[in-house]
């Protein structure tokens, strides 16, 4: 009746795991209780969960990312604590549990923090930046969100029911095969990855079509804001790279359960590793390019000038996009692919440094030539520029020097160096920068600065020692060690992660303080940073339709140009009906049914899997033959909404004046 699911699936094996499970269960019950107590279920369902509004979907993506960030950081704290104190005695975590935490930390950070953060910022900002009223495919956007949510839920539920994979986030066979991982851990990993991959592809298609087809009249490609450009590049990479991860994960599942021979033997293992990194390397750029886009927006806005070298920046982003598809093998030089193959990839990989340096120079010159305001988004940007250089240089070392540092903590330090300053700081900058756009009030500065300093100090303390340990020869992923020389560095790294925990706490405090002081922080929230691009032309928070009159664009930084021309106080004399997508519960039903299906497949509860499969079919079907044009917002209502705004910029006039 319940397949492989028995009472033994509960985490009785360790007190620490039991505590984790209880935290998850109590957290979930607590949220349900609070919403019930406030009586907000109906509101939540009709205004948020079934919404097809791109801004609300984006906000939900970011909330998911922030919740999962807390889980990922707690995992990191547990890993660092174990390594700092597991000298000779065993530390506090048994090896099996340590490996689960190791795997879930990386899986969560990659798939359920970084991806939703990126897609959430796309969803909130991109349509407004290109002067569009909505995304091309509102339902696909919602489906992408809910598939990602159900993937994240699978990872969270694995804390309570069964266990998570111990094969690390890369799930290389044979360790991820049936012989070495007979329990459901790897299956949880496979299904979480599959669901979120499908969600990401849907989102990638949605944003690519939106950018290509829905730009405001007059906005040519070379007038798009940099963030939109990087979203375009990242969407292309998502569409091309994610199929490879789907194939890798699906075939791994077949090997485990049908006994196929895809990844058996050394050839087979190499096939898996290639498939994984054909996705994995572009994925790094799917995460980093949007951050570069955010840095570009932030640098231009807070330096008060047009970006230096806009075209060079665009070409660099495009070059990085192309190169990122042909360098995947540098993730496994040491595996022995032969001299010629290694030589090709060994030459291609350092080439990425060229466009990267161009971008750094462009940002630095923009800052140098402008008048800089050191607000929180700018601090994160500057922190990125300084620390990212270290990450870039160490990447260069990987490409050119002998393999002694491969597979050591040097590598751990290197990719955290790229993904924390390179990606996460960018998302934080974007979060601080666009928060007033989404909610109508700024985030409080003081706690933002404190959070920034904790993050950057914590990052340096946590990862610089790992570079040194790598040179000293410490392998990655050790759950304990018997080398006394390593321990002082590991204790410093432990101190670093404590700073990062403070950074997360301060970000949480910042939200609380900002909500408390939202009246004072709301001042000038329509355009709090004196922005340059079109998203600052909408109200904050924007009306459902973003723009009452669709803007005409004649160059880059159209909002800045418009402000300089001083044509802001014109009111659009006549308003018109606007058709917007309505609501749909199909997206959340699709996510829920996918979760049921995946959970049933993991535990081999076949009747439940059949029910889940039918549910997926029904959810998709209900949407497929829905020929609705959407909701019509009458002109009178548009006028009422617009007259409530202090300033109603008649953007449509610009083409004529």
């Amino acid at each position: 009746m319940l397949g492989k699911l028995t009472i033994d699936a509960l985490p009785f094996y360790s007190g620490v795991a039991m505590a984790g499970a209880l935290t998850v269960v109590c957290g979930a019950l607590g949220v349900v209780a609070i919403i019930t107590w406030l009586g907000r279920w109906r509101f939540l369902w009709s205004e948020w969960l079934t919404s097809l509004d791109h801004k609300k979907i984006g906000i939900m993506y970011v909330i998911l990312a922030l919740i999962m960030l807390v889980r990922g950081v707690v995992d990191a704290l547990m890993i660092r604590t174990q390594q700092a104190f597991a000298f000779e005695p065993h530390g506090y975590l048994p090896p099996d549990h340590f490996n689960q935490i190791f795997t879930s930390h990386a899986t969560i950070m990659m798939f359920f923090v970084a991806m939703p953060f990126v897609l959430g910022l796309f969803s909130i900002v991109i349509p407004q930046q290109i002067g569009a009223r909505r995304v091309a495919f509102p339902f696909m956007n919602s489906a992408g969100l809910w598939l990602t949510v159900s993937g994240a839920t699978l990872v969270m539920i694995s804390l309570v029911v069964g266990r998570f994979s111990t094969a690390y986030w890369t799930a290389y066979p044979p360790q991820s095969g049936m012989q070495f991982s007979p329990d459901v851990g790897v299956d949880y990993w496979i299904w979480a990855v599959l669901l979120s991959s499908v969600g990401s592809i849907l989102a990638g298609i949605c944003f690519l079509v939106t950018i290509v087809k829905r730009r405001a009249p007059g906005m040519r490609l070379m007038m798009m804001p940099l963030f939109t450009w990087t979203a375009l590049c990242a969407s292309i990479l998502i569409i091309f790279a994610y199929p490879s991860l789907i194939v890798a994960a699906a075939l791994l599942g077949l090997d485990r359960h049908l006994g196929t021979q895809f990844f058996a033997g050394s050839d087979g293992v190499l096939n898996y590793i290639s498939l994984f990194w054909i996705w994995g390397h572009p994925h790094v750029y799917i995460l980093i390019l949007p951050a570069c886009g955010i840095y570009s927006e932030v640098v231009a806005t807070f330096s008060g000038r047009r970006l230096f070298g806009y075209k060079s920046l665009v070409y660099s982003m495009v070059a990085i996009t192309g190169l990122s598809l042909v360098v995947w093998l540098h993730h496994f030089y040491t595996i022995g692919s032969g001299v010629d193959v290694n030589a090709f990839f060994g030459r291609a990989a350092p080439l990425i440094a060229v466009p990267t340096i161009v971008t750094i120079v462009c940002w630095s010159l923009t800052i140098y030539l402008g008048q800089v305001k050191f607000s929180v988004p700018m601090l994160f940007t500057l922190g990125f520029i300084v620390t990212f250089l270290v990450g870039g240089i160490t990447g260069f070392l990987f490409a050119v020097i002998p393999p002694s540092i491969h597979d050591t903590t040097f590598r751990v330090a290197h990719f955290h160096n790229l993904l924390i300053p390179g990606a996460l700081f960018g998302y934080f900058a974007g979060y601080q920068y666009w928060f007033p756009k989404a909610f109508g009030f700024r985030l409080e500065e003081k706690w933002g600065r404190r959070a920034f300093w904790c993050w950057i100090v914590g990052f340096c303390l946590a990862f610089m020692p790992l570079y040194i340990l790598g040179f000293m020869g410490m392998p990655q992923r050790l759950n304990r060690s018997d080398v006394a020389d390593w321990q002082p560095y590991l204790i410093v790294a432990q101190a670093g992660v404590l700073f990062i925990v403070c950074g997360v706490t301060f970000l949480a405090i910042q939200i609380g303080v900002s909500i408390r002081d939202r009246k004072t922080l709301a001042a000038s929230s329509n355009d709090p940073w004196n922005g340059r691009t079109l998203e600052w032309a909408t109200a904050s928070p924007p009306a459902t339709y973003n723009f009452a009159a669709v803007p005409h664009v004649q160059g880059i930084d159209p909002w800045w140009t418009l402000k300089q021309a001083g044509t802001l106080d014109h009111r659009s004399a006549r308003f018109h009906d606007i058709i917007m997508p309505g609501k749909s519960s199909a997206g959340i039903m699709l996510g829920a049914m996918s979760f049921v299906f995946a959970f049933a497949m993991i535990w081999q509860i076949w009747w439940l899997a059949a029910a889940g499969g039918l549910g997926i079919f029904a959810a998709v079907l209900s949407q497929t033959f829905h020929d609705h044009a959407g909701q019509r917002i009458p002109a009178s209502e548009v006028e009422a909404i617009e007259s409530r705004r202090g300033v109603s910029p008649a953007l449509g006039r610009e083409a004529r004046t």
Partner: protein
């Protein structure tokens, strides 16, 4: 006067305009999805090639029967042609004829899937299942993925056939059939590759 310009441009997109635009966007998005799907097939081909010599000492030349493969190919090619006739009927607005041709397409598609399943089943019970060797794993994955796509396409044909039977040949239904056509012909192209690179070298 300027407001009139806004009106004509975008202030008030008519229903027909926005429907037309939605169709264009969906077609473009569907092409992107097909590209993503094509990469899945490309990777499965690559895996198959990488596995082609891992035959666990079994002969690969006795596995396949030329008449059966030929019949499967003909069925699928015929379904592509009948779908083409359906498309012609749709653009001429002949609903009844379109439904007949779609019916023909689904019959030949269904026969193809049945033949494919019986082939795979026959191999599996004759000690040539996907677990026997890397070669067979790659073969089953490729044929299975293709067969699953064709089956999905069949469900889709039936659903769209019902739609135009019940609701008529609306522009949006016609655009759905157009995208289904892209999908169906794409699957035929994949099959041509399977026939040429997987079956033929082992049959000749």
């Amino acid at each position: 006067m300027t407001d009139a310009v806004i009106t004509a441009d975008h202030g008030d997109e008519t229903n027909a305009e926005s429907a037309q635009r939605a169709i264009e966007e969906k077609t473009y998005g569907f092409w992107l999805w097909l590209m993503s799907d094509a990469i899945i097939f490309a990777l499965l081909f690559a895996i198959f090639v990488a596995m082609a010599r891992n035959t666990a000492d079994g002969s690969t030349h006795t596995l396949f029967l030329l008449p059966r493969i030929f019949a499967e190919t003909m069925l699928l090619l015929a379904s592509s042609a009948t779908f083409g006739f359906a498309s012609v009927a749709i653009s001429a607005g002949q609903r009844r004829r379109a439904i007949v041709w779609l019916g023909m397409t689904s019959i030949s598609g269904l026969s193809f899937v049945v033949m494919e399943i019986s082939e795979l089943y026959g191999m599996a019970i004759a000690n040539a299942g996907p677990w026997q060797s890397g070669f067979l794993s790659g073969f089953f994955a490729l044929i299975g993925t293709h067969g699953a796509h064709v089956s999905f396409g069949l469900v889709w044909i039936v659903l769209l056939g019902c739609e135009i039977a019940l609701r008529g040949l609306t522009p949006i239904a016609a655009s759905r059939l157009y995208r289904l056509g892209l999908f169906w012909h794409f699957l035929v192209i994949v099959w041509i590759n399977i026939f040429s690179f997987i079956y033929l070298p082992r049959l000749l």
